[in-house]
């Protein structure tokens, strides 16, 4: 184990060489120190040059004794050496860039190392969680297997809650809320079941009612059909009887019936001599008021038997008592019917 590995307590698994990285880091540090020293020397050189310039200016302004006020001229030179500030600056910039790149490279390497370490830590934590979760799941499975099909859903739920509490994952408040929610769900379930039951009963009642209606309709149809059959049978029987009794279809039978009828009516002396009216018509003092064009049957004012009034007749004769009644035609709608007067 290397020194820095001992410092962080773990072994390096990074494919890069840690010693080389450390050497680079130290080289960078040394280079930074060199750069700092050069900058200090540069600053000292600049301060020295400034001081020399200042002393030169002061010496030029001090008057020399015995010299006239007309001034004097100083000649000669001062070799201050050759200083190339631009090259120096360029060199410093290049060094700085190189150092910056080295620092960036070192930082990237450090970042990679840090990421690698973080990844390893995360992996370790996940392994720990997995192991713990696996143990809890195993325990839970055992508990569930032990409580399987021991009762209703509520009992199973209570068993599950005990298991959860035993595992340290249960929360009393949550448990209460869950119980309330479970009760609410249970009530909702019961309510839904009752509603569905009621709907089923309603539908069944409707179907039964419809079935009863259909039965009633069928019975009505049957009765109607039976009545139609009976009516047809009756009509057929009547028609058969009518045909049987038809005086024209069975001449002899009808003649016999007519003979019997005629003999029964013979009290009135109906004979071939009855060519003239038996009764003489007598004029009645009563009149009948009838609308113009009206006709009908009314009762005889004399005997009460039916008397016919023809549409254009001027008189009416009772066939029972032979009374003759004059007819007064009046405008239609004035009297509204046939009236005796």
């Amino acid at each position: 184990m290397k020194e820095w590995e001992a410092a962080i307590g773990e072994v390096n698994t990074n494919p890069g060489d840690g010693d080389e990285l450390l050497a680079q880091a130290r080289s960078n540090t040394r280079r930074k120190q060199i750069i700092r020293l050069e900058e200090e020397e540069d600053a000292a050189h600049r301060a020295r040059m400034a001081r020399l310039n200042k002393e030169t200016v002061v010496n030029q302004n001090v008057p020399v004794p015995g010299e006239t006020s007309g001034g004097f001229k100083v000649t000669g030179g001062l070799d201050m050496g050759h200083i190339n500030y631009q090259d120096l600056m360029q060199q410093q910039i290049a060094d700085r860039e190189a150092l910056r790149q080295e620092a960036a490279q070192a930082a990237a390497n450090q970042q990679q190392i840090s990421e690698d370490l973080r990844q390893r830590l995360h992996t370790s934590e996940m392994d720990l969680i997995k192991s713990s979760f696996g143990a809890q799941m195993q325990m839970l499975n055992k508990t569930i297997e032990g409580n399987t099909s021991r009762g209703s859903f509520i009992q199973e739920y209570n068993g599950m809650m005990e298991v959860v509490k035993a595992l340290g994952m249960g929360h009393p408040q949550a448990s209460d809320n869950m119980s309330i929610q479970l009760d609410l769900k249970k009530m909702e379930f019961e309510n839904t079941r009752e509603l569905r039951k009621m709907m089923r009963e309603d539908k069944q009642a409707d179907r039964e009612f419809q079935r009863q209606l259909n039965r009633d309709a069928d019975e009505r149809e049957d009765k109607k059909a039976n009545l139609e059959i009976k009516r047809a049978e009756t009509a057929a029987a009547i028609q058969a009887e009518r045909e049987k009794r038809s005086m024209w279809a069975t001449p002899f039978e009808t003649v016999g019936m007519a003979l019997a009828k005629g003999l029964m009516d013979s009290n009135g002396g109906m004979s071939a001599d009855a060519g003239q009216p038996r009764h003489k018509q007598k004029r009645s003092g009563k009149k009948l008021e009838v609308g113009e064009g009206e006709s009908g049957v009314t009762n005889c004012p004399e005997c009460g038997e039916p008397v016919a009034i023809a549409p254009t007749a001027r008189s009416a004769v009772c066939s029972s008592c032979d009374a003759t009644f004059p007819i007064d035609r009046i405008s239609v709608g004035k009297t509204g019917g046939i009236h005796g007067a």
Partner: protein, 123 residues
């Protein structure tokens, strides 16, 4: 031979009886016909107003029966309007009253009787 005589006597007797009783027979037939077909006052008035003939309303059976009756009774001169009215007087008073008091109806009835006679005797 005797049987034929008996048959001839019976036939003659029957024809005599029929001839003497024909008015009564026809009266019964007429009233029965009116009652059976439920012929009303309004129907007769309508037929008279339209001068509608009765013959189309007679069925072939009725026509056939009348012709057979005509074979048995050659003389039906008694069949008049007055006889008709007198025949229905008791059972159909309203119809009888109608023909009694309505000249137009009487004329129509006379025409129908003549038409029926012509139909019976083929004249």
């Amino acid at each position: 031979m005797e049987l034929e005589k008996v048959k001839g006597i019976a036939r003659t007797t029957f024809q005599g009886v029929m001839a003497s009783q024909v008015p009564m027979i026809l009266k019964g037939m007429l009233n029965e016909l009116l009652r059976r077909d439920d012929i009303t006052f309004e129907e007769i008035v309508a037929m008279v107003e339209k001068n509608e003939s009765l013959l189309p309303h007679l069925t072939p059976e009725m026509t056939h029966g009348m012709r057979r009756a005509a074979e048995l009774v050659p003389d039906i001169d008694f069949l008049t309007v007055e006889w008709f009215i007198d025949a229905i007087r008791e059972e159909h008073r309203a119809l009888a009253s109608l023909f009694l008091g309505w000249k137009k109806g009487r004329n129509w009835l006379a025409r129908q009787i003549e038409a029926i006679k012509a139909e019976m005797y083929g004249s």
